[in-house]
């Protein structure tokens, strides 16, 4: 491998389940030490991509490499370099937490001398040491079970950690704890997380990949995606005064700034108004200064709405639906561009 080696490298990965397309020409890279969120609606192809990355299933075409090693030709080598936490976090019900981690440690080829220390470290890191250590997994609460799953994924200190919905069904305290845990891994291990909790991904991931109907529809940092998908800025204004006079005043501030909603409650003195502009630069100060110069308007509140990941997600997935991506193999020109590179899958 020459030059910069990506931790995860996926090129034109395609997978069909019978005639149904799961993913189609999916390509992305993840750098070393990066935490990447993998988002998409149900059935978008997230789990399929993750299962291919783990070497559990093979793709129809395309190539996928982990640490520069092609997955299809070296599945055994890949399994030594990844930690995987499956969807729904399956665990054997009849084992104790500490027994399970020792068992997994042995299977993951952690040297015998190091195993005890590593299990203790992981138990401590996942806060399993005090209450859950000797408990039978079947008797654990959902939050503790998730921690055991995460502990298993990070146990052998793999270079790449793949987690399929690690925060599903957790209470806010546990989500916070798992978020901190994932943040602690930044820089040391490459982490790829799929999740439905978008605020969660926004808080702990460096970068976001959004997949829909088997295609990557967006990839980048929250900020870059915001600029790409959200083309306008919305301000919420709570004020007293006549709306008719306000219109011309706003045009003076920015010719494209318009009132996008009718007053919330005209019977009240103060009412809410939404203003929209296609420009992204902040106009809050200008608006406030202009309104202050006109005493017929009394402003009580001005908010600039920053679009969150949820807005970006909805915009990105909606755009891909609008483009009407074909779902069936019959509609897809199956012969096109199956770039067969080194380490081609199947």
């Amino acid at each position: 491998m020459l030059g910069q080696e990506h931790s995860i490298e996926v090129n034109n990965l395609t997978k069909y389940y019978g005639p149904v397309m799961a993913i189609h020409e999916v390509s992305f890279n993840v750098e070393k030490g990066e935490i990447v969120g993998f988002l998409g609606p149900n059935g978008a192809g997230k789990s399929t991509t993750m299962r291919i990355l783990c070497g559990l299933i093979t793709a129809k075409s395309g190539s996928a490499k982990i640490c520069g090693i092609p997955i299809a030709s070296n599945p055994d080598e890949i399994k030594r370099r990844i930690g995987y936490m499956a969807e729904n976090n399956p665990l054997p019900e009849d084992m104790r937490v500490v027994e399970y981690l020792y068992y997994r440690g042995r299977l993951k080829e952690i040297p015998r001398k190091r195993l005890k220390d590593r299990v203790e470290e992981t138990l401590e890191l996942c806060d399993l040491n005090r209450t859950a250590r000797r408990k039978v997994i079947a008797n654990l609460s959902k939050g503790y079970r998730q921690r055991v799953g995460i502990a298993d994924a990070i146990l052998s200190e793999p270079e790449v950690i793949i987690m399929d919905e690690p925060t599903i069904g957790l209470d806010p305290h546990q989500v916070l704890m798992i978020r901190d845990l994932i943040k602690n891994l930044r820089g040391k291990m490459t982490v790829i997380i799929s999740s439905h909790i978008l605020s969660e991904v926004e808080l702990c991931c460096d970068r976001v990949i959004i997949i829909n109907q088997g295609h990557i529809v967006a990839c980048g940092t929250s900020e870059s995606l915001r600029n790409e998908f959200i083309n306008n800025t919305t301000y919420t204004l709570n004020l007293k005064g006549k709306t008719e006079a306000l219109d011309s005043l706003l045009r003076e501030i920015d010719p494209d700034l318009v009132i996008s909603s009718s007053p919330s409650d005209i019977n009240e003195d103060y009412y809410d108004l939404e203003l929209t502009t296609p420009h992204t630069h902040n106009l809050s100060e200008k608006i406030l200064t202009r309104l202050y110069e006109h005493p017929q308007f009394r402003v009580r509140e001005l908010r600039r709405k920053v679009p969150n990941l949820e807005n970006i997600f909805l915009a990105a997935t909606r755009r891909s639906w609008d483009e009407d991506i074909p779902l069936s193999i019959n509609k897809v020109d199956s012969g096109k561009k199956n770039n067969q590179e080194t380490g081609v899958v199947e």
Binding site: C54, G55, L56, I57, D76, K79, R80, I82, Y84, A86, E87, N88, P90, L91, P92, E93, D94, Y103, R104, R106, L107, K108, E109, D152
Partner: protein, 251 residues
């Protein structure tokens, strides 16, 4: 090899802490004890040419029909249903190691259960011990031949159980499938052979080779024929090999 030992230990531990294992063991020993008593009772009523142990081993198929499905139906099907097979396959463990560890654990337990039946003639001999009785109850050739047959045929039966379990995620389906295949192997082959008329005749030689009762006959006489050993070993390898392929492709 390290993985295999680790998996085998895990499987044995899982077997020995599961209540179902002990229930299976008790049912097996009760049934076999009952069969042994019936055989002895029959021996007290009328004279027989053969030894009681020979009759005992001729009924080996009765426990096989329920013990083997009970022991094996959970192995892969349950792991697949729970999703733990998937997490197991993301470690550097191969499907061959998984299948063989599960097979060996179930097989060792199967052999252990059969070994416990050695207690029946020993107990009878201890209670009503006379030198004439000892010779008939504890005839070494019959006992050794019988147990070797059970151990060697057990390889194939347990592998059929593991194979059935690898096909589905439902334990019930795995159990029923295992029972059906065992029924065909053990009772179906002799049934076809006895019914063979006309176009079945050309199959007679092959069916004879598949007939478990014929194998048992040789073993109980103390004849250890390598043909039978090759038969059981080769079919076990074939069935387990198919199970490995199924497990690899159906994670």
């Amino acid at each position: 090899m390290n993985h295999f030992t680790c998996l085998l230990k895990h499987e044995l531990r899982a077997l020995f802490i599961a209540p179902s294992t002990y229930v299976t063991g008790v049912i097996f020993l009760l049934l076999m004890g009952f069969i042994y008593i019936l055989i002895l009772a029959d021996f007290t009523l009328q004279p027989h040419d053969n030894l009681p142990t020979e009759y005992f081993f001729q009924l080996y198929w009765i426990p096989v029909f329920f013990i083997v499905p009970l022991l094996t139906m959970k192995s892969i099907a349950e792991e697949r249903r729970m999703g733990t097979l998937e997490t197991l396959m993301t470690t550097p463990v191969t499907a061959t190691e998984i299948i063989f560890s599960k097979f060996l654990a179930a097989y060792l337990f199967y052999c252990l259960l059969w070994m416990l039946t050695l207690g029946f003639p020993l107990l009878v001999n201890l209670t009503v011990g006379s030198s004439a009785m000892t010779v008939r109850l504890l005839d070494p050739a019959t006992l050794l031949g019988g147990y070797i047959f059970v151990a060697i045929s057990g390889l194939l039966f347990i592998s059929v159980g593991i194979f059935s379990s690898s096909l589905t995620r439902s334990q019930l389906v795995a159990g029923m499938l295992c029972f059906s295949i065992l029924f065909i192997i053990i009772l179906g082959v002799p049934a076809v052979k006895t019914q063979s008329i006309g176009w079945f005749e050309w199959l007679e030689g092959a069916l004879e080779y598949f007939n478990n009762f014929k194998h048992l006959e040789d073993f109980s006489r103390g004849v250890i024929d390598t043909r039978h050993i090759v038969f059981y070993f080769s079919y076990t390898t074939l069935v387990l090999g198919i199970s490995v392929l199924i497990t690899e492709s159906k994670v």
